[in-house]
Symmetry: D5
Amino acid sequence: MFFMVQMYVNRPESLDDQQWNELRSREMEYGQSLMKKGTFRHIWRVVGDVSNVSIFEVDSNEELHELLSNLPLFPYMDVKVTALANHPSGLPEMYDYAQRG
Amino acid sequence: MFFMVQMYVNRPESLDDQQWNELRSREMEYGQSLMKKGTFRHIWRVVGDVSNVSIFEVDSNEELHELLSNLPLFPYMDVKVTALANHPSGLPEMYDYAQRG
Amino acid sequence: MFFMVQMYVNRPESLDDQQWNELRSREMEYGQSLMKKGTFRHIWRVVGDVSNVSIFEVDSNEELHELLSNLPLFPYMDVKVTALANHPSGLPEMYDYAQRG
Amino acid sequence: MFFMVQMYVNRPESLDDQQWNELRSREMEYGQSLMKKGTFRHIWRVVGDVSNVSIFEVDSNEELHELLSNLPLFPYMDVKVTALANHPSGLPEMYDYAQRG
Amino acid sequence: MFFMVQMYVNRPESLDDQQWNELRSREMEYGQSLMKKGTFRHIWRVVGDVSNVSIFEVDSNEELHELLSNLPLFPYMDVKVTALANHPSGLPEMYDYAQRG
Amino acid sequence: MFFMVQMYVNRPESLDDQQWNELRSREMEYGQSLMKKGTFRHIWRVVGDVSNVSIFEVDSNEELHELLSNLPLFPYMDVKVTALANHPSGLPEMYDYAQRG
Amino acid sequence: MFFMVQMYVNRPESLDDQQWNELRSREMEYGQSLMKKGTFRHIWRVVGDVSNVSIFEVDSNEELHELLSNLPLFPYMDVKVTALANHPSGLPEMYDYAQRG
Amino acid sequence: MFFMVQMYVNRPESLDDQQWNELRSREMEYGQSLMKKGTFRHIWRVVGDVSNVSIFEVDSNEELHELLSNLPLFPYMDVKVTALANHPSGLPEMYDYAQRG
Amino acid sequence: MFFMVQMYVNRPESLDDQQWNELRSREMEYGQSLMKKGTFRHIWRVVGDVSNVSIFEVDSNEELHELLSNLPLFPYMDVKVTALANHPSGLPEMYDYAQRG
Amino acid sequence: MFFMVQMYVNRPESLDDQQWNELRSREMEYGQSLMKKGTFRHIWRVVGDVSNVSIFEVDSNEELHELLSNLPLFPYMDVKVTALANHPSGLPEMYDYAQRG
């Protein structure tokens, strides 16, 4: 089951460079662990913006909320979730489900 | 080079069912030809809406505009284009370019 | 898995009273069949508006899209879907899943 | 009489973790007391967001305003209230009124 | 129980002057019957606009929805409802309930 | 001459409880003096919000601006003013002008 | 008493050129009669748009609403009214009231 | 050449009363010098708001930007500029150009 | 003096293909005559949209309004005008004025 | 390949005048180096605003994102990117590509 997730990051002034970079390292590490498991299927940077377009594949809304709220940068993000479904024009291989470990 | 394209379809009252279905058949045929060539990389239906989220991979803005304006349903769509770039957290294989024919 | 669905109905001028009432009868019949199966859990009228707030319980995004696009009034609706999850403050019985037939 | 209440929580930077968690505990305790009384009928988390969709059943606008303004997190919330009514398509049991103590 | 109701009237091109004036006469007659009963407490024209600001006093959301959906111009209106409560700064006589017949 | 005034109050973090409560006392005292004079005709609380809907009766725009800008909470408010006129459907007694002292 | 009035004109397809031009002639004639009386103090075209920025000087909201609703193009306009007051930085001669006949 | 300029003033918390009043004095002094030269043709207060509607007459966009960016309160303003032109309904004397010194 | 002009074209259903193509031919011819004169400095297509971003260089607001309102497609356009000025970071040659014939 | 980039600068209160002016000097120096290379083709100030309209010519989305995120003021900007293409009405010389060093 696919969802588009758009994340907009707002760095608060109260965090200094070291704290912010540490958060970002943990964010990347956590994100990549989800990518390797196959739940975090795509991520693109929006050009000129500190935001991204992501595609998640999960089994339930609850699973998605837990993944997102565990992102180290979650308290500093605005997140917009859009439920997606297979499109009748799409080729079958576009919706192959990941082998999740 | 990736772009997110969000298409919102508005069926005009002036087209009858036969005309509309013919346009949709041609739309699907044209879309799938682009998918097979590798320029139209992903398409998802937005749940509950007559719209989709699509990802295109093209060599230039001009190529993207030509592909979109040739869609048979283009005169009946609102289209929003977002330029995307590789994300530093993304795994390298996420940005493999298609072998386009 | 719960979703909030907000439906805004726009009656087109091209449909006469008989056609419109027939559509609404079929809408009510179809909706109530889903309510009896347990997928259509709640529906409220928004006071002063031709719109409603509905809660669906489904197994997947695909199931939800199919249910919604089969609504007889679907071509005349704007629909907004919000993915919901259990809330930590909610009492357990609030999330009892329906016995669906 | 039903109302949809959408609550968006904004944590201020001036509250430290201990103060915030204490407020949240009191919020959950107060909310659950209303749920047990039957005035706070439903609560769902919006996936990916620090907001919720709630359904209240009250006897008057004044009662609703008093309940909401007594929420411990009320000073840190944006709240949107929508008046609801029974829907003609709804099954009668959907509008059973709670036995409030 | 008070509600603010903002009504925006959109005259459709399909109604001729006679039909429109007849609807408006019935609208005024119906509105004034509610005013005399005390449910329709205030109405003001928004300067420069075909809209109004109205205050209703009703016993329930259901009563308000029924009153509004019976307005002869209801199919041609956008209506926005705001639930109101007594204000702590208000003088007691501001909230005297009407003697409704 | 009637105006609808919608006031949205934003409490700044820089004011402590004592300062804020003092301002609110002065606000209520000043508001009630205007109510007794008949210029401040109605005030309702918007349910679930720290805002109100008010109706003023004044002789000129300048008088209204002076009344509003003298509100002790004015520096912490967003204010929206809507010019109102008698409505042709309104009963004559709805527009009785106050005897202002 | 001054008001800013912003008028956005929408020509309906149902009026042919002759009908439209006749309406516009009557609009100009009526507008200029108000300008000569001194109630219609200023009018500017918004560059690139079929809209204008106007300043009216009237004695009451009712007078303004009557003037506007008598504009021959009123049924085809969106109108936004903003109540204005003298500005403390303004030179006294900026607020000289017109000698109205 | 006329422009409408709408200025919204946001007082920052970091400035104390003395600093703010000094800025406002300089603002008024500078504004009135432009009014006497004839470039700053009109200013009105928006009722209930800390904003104004102003009309400038300048020879070029560059001249307008320089005038505005030299306003002592410019760093604390949101400014919206609308290019204006003579309106065909306007009386000729409405567009008399100022004798600028 | 530079202005950014954003034009959004809405084709009405009442014009057939021949009428529309004739208008577009005249639009291109007229636009190119302005380009050759140097008043219409730049035009770009917005990718995926029937709109453009244009830069005009004119001597006055009146000149710009006359140029735009003479566009054959003007009755079918939404137009947004933004006044521009030289930017202090810009290289001098970026603001060379055209030799207009 | 052309892109319109609209930059809105928000100066944070935490930076003093010296820090801010140093950032702006570096911004101008960096911007002008891109202008000389031909990637930063145009920049205009929006009149009355601390924002600009810029045109970039780059070979890819990735190149554009790198250029923008290296702007010294990037952390204090809201940036909006619009993909552009040649317009069929444009004269060929309008799309001459820069000789980039």
